[in-house]
């Protein structure tokens, strides 16, 4: 049986998030900008305070009691995170400041070393800038080129000619597991299998998937997996790069400094073991401990339950948005194929104006290109508005959002654009 959150559980969850209790412009806050960043439960905030108030010390370099405690908590968090994504060992989990840093680490350490002129990087049109721009930089330096998997009209990836797109020149396939605009959930395992047949390395951007569904990196068989803590109830500047051990071991360090070395001589150094080789300098100790607690919190609720809850909220939002002939929703219509977010346009009303209108009603949504300009160019759009949901959102909040849209439509006199937009 599929488990869902009942009303009592949902109330309890909402009570766990101090920020949600407030009013904005005199209206109860409706926080629908979870794809940008999620709110934090009290346990996460408390855990970070606890570190600073009771055992703040540097890790791995003191022999006093506080240092020992800080190190233990920091490493315990790593073990919990490894378990959460089913990484085979904690050493394959490297702490970073988030998805962007994790991808840059792979770009600068692995790609700059292994790619050469004429090599190909295969990606998609739905990537976030952080899974786009580092590869442009790699191409500039190495002479490698970018190729992209096309989109189907429903916003899914066109995979029928995948075997042709991946060639012997393809060295890297880098895809998001869930689009932050279309919501599309991509069949990452299928892509990884096709890539591995040709000996390509696979990076999966999990920024929008790990917070919302159960992820098993071994089942996905990806070589690198990256995500951010702040989108999954954890602190900002926490995040992870998971990598297969053999790859990580062969990679040169990304940054040099303390912690990542074994011995330093007058003109050279030898490097530390995994994961410390990639954690130069004093790391984000409080944040990583906080992320460990966020993982506990999400596991306690249950990732399958969270996914189920978001599917229901998304289905409800999609159903109610059909009240508007002027609304175009981007991405798959089937909630089995999409995550808990809806990017849309309301006729010719600019997304900015909708977001300002929403804010007046206490509804936080995002407007713009959501760091996915290539996708918006592909869709022929300058901007979309986006509502993105999480475990603490309710149907009643969707009602407030829909009411707001009705008001905005009337106020701006939305006209259907009549544009034939594919997705």
């Amino acid at each position: 049986m599929i488990e869902v959150l009942d009303g009592v559980e949902l109330e309890e969850i909402r009570d766990d998030f101090p920020l949600l209790q407030q009013k904005v412009h005199g209206k109860p806050l409706v926080y629908f900008d979870n794809a940008a960043t999620s709110q934090k439960p009290r346990v996460v905030i408390d855990a970070m305070n606890d570190y600073y108030q009771r055992y703040n010390a540097n890790v791995h370099r003191g022999i006093h009691a506080l240092a020992e405690r800080a190190t233990k908590e920091y490493e315990r968090a790593r073990e919990k995170i490894a378990k959460f994504i089913n990484a085979p060992s904690p050493e394959s989990v490297i702490y970073t400041r988030g998805t962007t840093e994790s991808i840059n680490l792979v770009a600068y350490s692995w790609a700059m070393t292994n790619l050469k002129k004429g090599d190909e990087i295969l990606t998609t049109f739905m990537e976030h800038h952080s899974n786009t721009v580092p590869w442009y930089q790699v191409c500039e330096r190495t002479g490698a080129v970018i190729k992209r998997i096309e989109l189907n009209p429903d916003g899914t990836l066109r995979l029928d000619d995948l075997d042709k797109l991946i060639t012997d020149r393809t060295k890297l396939v880098t895809v998001t597991q869930q689009s932050n605009v279309l919501g599309t959930i991509n069949p990452v395992r299928q892509i990884a299998d096709a890539a591995h047949k040709r000996g390509a390395v696979v990076l999966v951007d999990g920024a929008q998937s790990v917070p919302h569904m159960a992820v098993d990196v071994q089942a996905l068989d990806c070589d690198f997996f990256v995500f951010s803590g702040h989108k999954m109830c954890g602190p900002t500047a926490s995040g992870v790069l998971y990598g297969k051990r053999a790859l990580l071991e062969a990679m040169p360090p990304f940054m040099g400094g303390g912690e990542m070395i074994r011995e330093v001589w007058f003109d050279h150094a030898t490097y530390n073991d995994l994961p410390y080789k990639f954690e130069a300098g004093t790391p984000n100790i409080a944040e990583s401990i906080g992320l460990g607690v966020a993982v506990d919190y999400l596991s306690h609720v249950g990732m399958d339950k969270i996914r189920q809850h978001e599917k229901q909220i998304t289905q409800y939002a999609l159903d109610r948005m059909r009240e508007f002939p002027e609304i175009t929703v981007y991405g798959p219509k089937d909630v089995e194929k999409r995550g808990g977010l809806v990017a849309f346009t309301l006729g010719d009303v600019h997304a900015h104006d909708i977001a300002t209108f929403a804010d007046e009603d206490g509804v936080a949504i995002r407007a713009g290109h959501h760091c996915a300009m290539p996708l918006h160019k592909k869709l022929g759009l300058a901007a979309t508005a986006r509502a993105s949901f999480y475990l603490y959102n309710t149907r009643e909040e969707v009602d407030v959002f829909i009411e707001m849209l009705h008001k905005a439509k009337k106020f701006f006199g939305a006209c259907p654009t009549g544009r034939a937009m594919g997705y």
Binding site: H350, A351, D353, F357, E360, A382
Partner: protein, 144 residues
Amino acid sequence: MLEELYEEIILDHYRRPRNKGKVDPSDIAAHGSNPLCGDEVDISARFQDGRIVELKFDGKGCAICTASASIMTQKLIGKTLPEARQLIGSFLNMMRGETSFGGKEMGDLKALEGVLKFPVRVKCATLAWNTTLQGFQQHTDKQS
């Protein structure tokens, strides 16, 4: 509060923008964008005897961006380059909150005062003006 942002005059310029399109041939053509939100504007203008005789804007922008561009074209047509620069400069100062808005003599421009209460939207209101200034600069650079 929303009524202060979306004054009737703003909505009117948004729904029926004045001087929308492209001046061709033009003495000035400049492109501006607001990378945070996706507003884009193209400015083109033609001079005659030292005055702006035609000035148009084009692009995809929100109500504030579009209305502000539309009002700007009306304000600048007929002005000399130094006069236009001066007006743009004083408008940008007002939008930075450095000087206060004038009264009725400002005409439709006065309607943009409400934007000051929405700091995240100030960039929308100034995009066309900054882009025009950029266009002037390119024009001056070419001539010197």
